[in-house]
Subunit: 509 residues, 2 copies
């Protein structure tokens, strides 16, 4: 048996949250930095989680009438330029392709074959998809056009962090075109709702659905809706956004149609996306000082069976019992899918394997050894409880109980995250209180502090910028539904101006 550490991850969350995060990603073997600046390698356990997220979201998109398609990776610079706010938003951080071959010169391969017009690697695809939509849409009969793309995108970020902010990332981007602004707004809100549901029900993350202020909108959008998660250092993460683009991009790309009245009109478009950032959000929301905790619905392996084989003469019987249990569990379903179970029969110490799965966050670990065989029991360990906390359950009826145990873990994670967020959300009515809430008491080593401040706001974009500079705090959203969506007249804590509702402030990733 491997020596059991106090905690598998060092430092702990309380000691150094950012470093804890890096160590968890590493210990769970989910991703690593590559030699390509800001680009990560997503390893099988991390990619397995992305595959689960992808297939479940994809089903939700298809159920709401969307179809997948694929558009070019490269965008002519002239396309970006068509929408002024858009190019301004993305021009300062994009990979530019300028040549189309390499040539040997003084013993070195150098760029050659200069392109007459350079391309950027898509940072997002409104412009290139807009050009296709302009070809596809002629009449109101062609609308709504409901398309989604799963793709890689690239933004040349200066400071990166695995999953949360990387130069290249994987995402989905929905792009739709509609006859009327009402239809487009309904679509925007619908997908906003899909994200909220997915985060809550699948990732066990309670998010605040809301609208962004003008300063925080997507470049080129008329409205941006967001789902904001709180993670365990009490910062916010923008987990998914949906944009009402008005006619900005349809005018830029020429998405025109003949209306029911026989007029030429520009379509009303939307876009919406979530990315591999969800993985970072999940880790920061649920992880503990022993590593990742995977919500059962998206875990790449939901149940791991660990054979305990101290003696050669009972080994075969133990392995057989493990395989039998695995088949019984595989025959069960969880949310309409067969349960993902793995027998880890690698020739490694039981302690080493157990800790590996703890760090990876597999929801359930089952151990079967010779004594369990005699007693007809299985040692069941839940990842949402302490590592040593085992329950001995009857082997014969265990498989049938697995779905309910997984659901209980799923529910527990959501409850815990919700309680945490509620504990760290505060109504604030004065500037003094606001400032002290967001100011670490220990200057040398900023400890975890703050949370969500729920306060009145009547300021301008300039006030927002000042707030961000001074306290590193931004308006995360103006809640549009849920607990925090309420009308209440008050006064802006910063400017004293009248305010119709409180908004959510936080530091953020």
């Amino acid at each position: 048996m491997a020596k059991q550490p106090q905690n598998a991850i060092s430092p702990t969350r309380a000691e150094d949250f950012p470093e804890w995060y890096q160590q968890v990603v590493r210990a769970a073997d989910m991703a690593e930095n590559s030699e390509v600046r800001g680009c990560m390698v997503i390893k099988p356990w991390g990619y397995g989680l992305w595959e689960r997220i992808q297939s479940q979201l994809d089903a939700m998109f298809k159920a709401t009438g969307h179809k997948n398609a694929y558009f070019p990776l490269l965008i002519p610079v002239s396309y970006l330029e068509k929408e002024a706010a858009h190019v301004e938003g993305f021009a300062t951080e994009c990979a530019v392709v300028t040549h189309h071959r390499l040539e040997l010169k003084d013993g070195k391969m150098v760029p050659s074959g200069e392109l007459t017009e350079p391309f950027v690697i898509r940072p997002t695809s409104e412009t290139i998809i807009g050009a296709a939509f302009a070809r596809w849409v002629q009449s109101y009969r062609d609308l709504p056009l409901l398309i989604n793309q799963w793709a890689n995108v690239m933004r040349w970020e200066m400071r990166t962090r695995l999953f949360l902010r990387t130069a290249e990332f994987l995402w989905q981007e929905g792009h739709t075109a509609h006859e009327t602004p009402e239809d487009a707004m309904e679509e925007t809100r619908k997908m906003h709702g899909v994200y909220e549901t997915f985060l809550r029900e699948h990732l066990a993350i309670p998010v605040i659905p809301g609208e962004k202020t003008e300063a925080e909108r997507f470049p080129g959008a008329l409205n941006t809706f967001t789902v904001e998660a709180m993670v365990q250092d009490r910062k916010a993460i923008q987990a998914g956004t949906s944009h009402f683009l008005g006619q900005n991009f349809s005018k830029a790309a020429g998405i025109e149609f003949e209306s029911r009245a026989g007029q030429r009109e520009f379509a009303w478009t939307t876009s919406w996306g979530v990315s591999t950032r969800l993985i970072g959000t999940l880790i920061m929301a649920h992880g503990d000082d022993d590593g990742v905790i995977m919500p059962p619905r998206v875990a790449p392996t939901q149940v791991v069976i660990l054979p305990v084989t101290p003696k050669e003469d009972t080994k075969a019987a133990v392995l057989e019992a493990c395989d039998k249990l695995a088949s019984e569990i595989r025959a069960q379903s969880f949310h309409g899918e067969p349960i993902l179970v793995e027998v880890d029969d690698r020739d490694l110490g039981g302690g080493v394997k157990n800790w590996e799965w703890i760090k990876k966050g597999a929801p359930l670990r089952l151990e079967i050894g010779p004594r369990d065989l005699e007693k007809g029991s299985v040692a069941v360990a839940r990842r949402d409880r302490a590592p040593k906390d085992k329950e001995f359950l009857e082997a014969g009826s265990l498989a049938g109980r697995i779905p309910e145990i997984l659901q209980s873990i799923q529910d527990g994670l959501l409850e815990r995250a919700l309680a945490f967020r509620n504990e760290n959300t505060k109504r604030i009515d004065s500037m003094e209180e606001f400032r002290s809430y967001f100011t670490p008491s220990n200057e040398e080593k900023p400890e975890i502090h703050g949370g969500f401040a729920f306060a009145h706001w009547g300021g301008s974009a300039e006030d927002e910028e000042r707030l961000q500079k001074e306290l590193k705090v931004t308006i995360r959203c103006i809640p549009t539904s849920g607990d925090l969506c309420e009308e209440e007249a008050g006064e802006c804590v910063f400017t004293g101006k009248p305010s119709a509702r409180r908004v959510v402030f936080a530091k953020s990733y």
Copy 2:
């Protein structure tokens, strides 16, 4: 009713095969050229086919022990340079990223922020994945390492054709590392076999599995295995390849491990891939003068139900019957998956809709109208038969018969393609015959001619090059299994040198 054309696609295959192909892709609404040179937009029906191909292949890869991961899009030029043959093979056609932002200059956005080392957009990932493997592999216990990646890649091709050859394309690339050359060769052959099976059983395309000659190998490989399909203009398409890379890439990237004997050794690696080229192959192999014919196993919609609603008073009953039949069919399974059925209740003429589905190649079209309701029958049209060829089957028992009808279409397509290939494969024993086989009789408008020539070969790489220049013919493969894999001593038809076996020659895409 729309006027029924003689054929839906003009020109026909016999009239102008390349143009027929472009028109089919367009008529089926599968893809289109974008304004980005050589890059296509894959439209929902084309992408739907790719999703089916992807999920079925992915299951086969996972069943053979592979896991998916994701690696950076950009490759430092210095990585490519590490393997001499590799950089030579790809340097002349790659997109080069040289800058990381745009800047406004004289009213125009121009590249700015020059990178100290340029990157290429991956044309294939041996080098960047090799760098990761070098980090991951320390001991023989870490082997075999069996990884697959689904990704976009880019090669700056001069002449492109939708799906068959595009600058950007989607593919999967398997990359594995092994302890011994035998293990690596076994893996190479195993995946060669997976491709052969997939093409035959899923795409209904009989391929010739074989080995490439040295001249046709992947840049940097010691052996390249291929599956070669014949399409209806009797040309060959290389549909998938698997490469035994020896230690070339492990030496370049430093994939070293401690062997069982305690020595430092370089791993033995493989790579293998198929791409969206499979879609072009499928269309050219099965399509007819009315459009695409989708093999049922991969069709995005396997059964389409077309309500015939000439009168308002029977419309509701017809639609209800269609929905009922759709649910019954959905409850059936085909190769372990629920059958994909769609009721096309769009408010369009029945003829228009019927022809749309013919052009798209949906395997089965079912029509229900008021008269069918009275008689309790359904008009069933198979895509592998003539457009007007309908069979009236009893509505009550139809759903249960759908799987067998789909299988019969699937089998029929394979048989037809196999018969076609056999008819157009010829044993050739003289240079004269060889030359005449591959020379069009009509010089002005080269009609469809040639096929697979199965002839003895004892030439050199230079002889191959001459053959390609003179007749545009290449050695497609040296068969490694199947009908054409036979040992037979003979004399090379070109050089008269002794030969131990015949090889397959053809013109190709």
